[in-house]
């Protein structure tokens, strides 16, 4: 899921002041931002209270079912048309993808209420760790299901680097070295110590990404007109 954190409150207020907004509609998200405790019902109520206390009128709020889903968000916006019409601005407590669908669905100034951080694993409730870069060139088959691109601070495919000490990471000294973990798991599974991984293909991670399975484009990036069909 996409991990988010609340955006600095002063920046939110600055954004609203930049257009002279006095009334605000709030949009949350029922998916990642709800699980991350940043954009669910509870956080929307809190934010509405904070805005009211700061002198703003909150015309309404809704937790979008899947706010990054464009058509779903358009539907949500229609359901709350009057409250949105009455607002000078919309504040979105969702990831950057949700902010953008909201901005596409609503013809009002839309501002981000969260900062989007990473694609995360929920280690336990309220504890999130980054495990995947969405690089489009997965090496997990060779690294015992542990991503060195993401979990090694240097993103080395072959390691450890010279900073490893007693199995621990040089940069994040309270963590085990990713490469020690990989080699241990490979050994435990009788898979040897693994070979040398070749330099990574970074062209698969070029932005902006795009996939269209409706037109039988199995995987391509936006702008790649010769994408594999």
């Amino acid at each position: 899921m996409i991990i988010t954190k609340p955006r600095d409150w002063a920046r939110i207020i600055q954004n609203l002041e930049s257009i002279g907004a006095r009334s605000v509609f709030l949009m949350g998200c029922g998916q990642c931002a709800t699980v991350a405790h940043t954009g669910g019902e509870k956080e929307l109520v809190e934010t509405a209270g904070r805005l009211t206390a700061a002198g703003y009128e909150v015309t309404g709020w809704t937790v979008g079912e899947v706010t990054c889903h464009l058509n779903g968000t358009k539907l949500d916006a229609r359901k709350h048309r009057d409250e949105i019409d009455g607002a000078d601005a919309v504040l979105v407590l969702a990831c950057g993808a949700g902010v953008q669908t909201t901005a596409d669905a609503i013809a009002k100034p839309v501002f981000p209420g969260l900062e989007s951080l990473f694609l995360g694993t929920v280690v336990r409730n309220g504890v999130f760790e980054e495990r995947c870069q969405t690089c489009g060139d997965c090496v997990l088959d060779m690294t015992a299901g542990i991503c060195p691109v993401t979990t090694c601070p240097k993103g080395l495919l072959n390691g450890p680097c010279g900073g490893m000490w007693n199995g621990m990471c040089e940069v994040l000294t309270d963590r085990e070295c990713t490469h020690v973990r990989i080699q241990r798991r490979l050994t435990e599974q009788g898979r040897g110590l693994g070979g040398t991984l070749a330099p990574k293909d970074f062209s698969t991670a070029l932005k902006p990404g795009g996939v269209n399975i409706r037109d039988r484009v199995t995987h391509r990036r936006a702008g790649d007109r010769e994408g594999a069909r």
Partner: protein
């Protein structure tokens, strides 16, 4: 042909030193270091933005040292350049007469004086060694022919004291397979662990230059333990330095003992004087 390689091939015990290029354009300090070290060293390792902090490039400094009459070991880290820049600099290095290259990962930018920098790490040190070997064979990493090949003597770093050893050993084998022919070790304090590493590397046809660090004061012990990656000064050595009436003299005596021990174990020694450049002669001849 690399003089370093020739010396190893003839069975000479190789002595290397280390110089850091300046943060600025005034080379006089570096040259003073070179002049102190040159009478005792076969080659000098020239660091590449060491400690992830800004210095004049290893490429330019290596050439300056060559012009001063001593063979440089051009160090290349993977931290600051992508694969195009690294290959381009390898070609530049060869064209400037630099025949030894030491490929290392590089410290994380967060450890240096530009902590907001993006760490590139497009390649790792093993991949870079493979590419350097390919350039020796006349092609770039995409397999395209070069108009004029290189003939680098390729080195890499090794960490005999960092456990787990089985992981380190796998890395060493990987690097040798990639084309590495000599290793420069992190500072050695435990000669048994150095022996273990040399025993593993020799049958695979690579040479080992063992690192010696001159720890001139308790403050330096603290610096090493807190700021130098992959290195911890053992307690008994830290105590020896802090208990001495003259810690600098004690550090020189310790380094001298270490060099003597290393002569019977490894293929060479790499002295990192950490400011005590003037003592290097004594350490190597004592």
């Amino acid at each position: 042909m690399s003089r370093l390689k020739e010396l190893f091939d003839t069975g000479e015990f190789v002595v290397t030193g280390e110089v850091a290029p300046p943060r600025g354009t005034d080379l006089s300090g570096m040259h003073a270091s070179v002049d102190l070290l040159a009478p005792y060293c076969h080659a000098l390792n020239v660091t590449d933005n060491q400690g992830a902090s800004l210095h004049l490039s290893s490429l330019a400094a290596s050439r300056a040292i060559l012009d001063r009459g001593i063979e440089p070991i051009f160090q290349q880290t993977c931290r600051d350049r992508n694969r195009l820049a690294l290959q381009s600099d390898l070609l530049a290095a060869w064209s400037l007469g630099l025949e030894n290259v030491l490929v290392v990962t590089g410290d994380d930018p967060r450890a240096g004086d530009h902590p907001h920098a993006k760490g590139v790490f497009d390649l790792d040190s093993t991949q870079l060694a493979t590419i350097a070997r390919g350039m020796n064979q006349g092609h770039d990493m995409m397999g395209r022919d070069l108009k004029g090949a290189t003939d680098f003597y390729i080195g890499a770093a090794m960490f005999p004291e960092a456990e787990p050893w089985d992981v380190q050993l796998a890395r060493i084998e990987q690097k040798i397979e990639a084309g590495v022919r000599f290793f420069q070790t992190q500072a050695i304090f435990d000669m048994d662990k150095l022996q273990r590493a040399v025993d593993a590397v020799r049958p695979l046809g690579a040479k080992v230059i063992a690192g010696v660090l001159v720890i001139r004061s308790p403050r330096v012990v603290k610096f090493v333990n807190e700021h130098l990656a992959g290195l911890m000064v053992p307690d008994h050595i830290a105590e020896r330095i802090s208990a001495a009436d003259d810690p600098a003299e004690e550090a020189i005596a310790l380094a001298t003992e270490q060099v003597r021990d290393i002569r019977s174990i490894a293929d060479g020694v790499h002295v990192m004087p950490l400011g005590l450049d003037a003592a290097v002669g004594k350490i190597l001849t004592g």
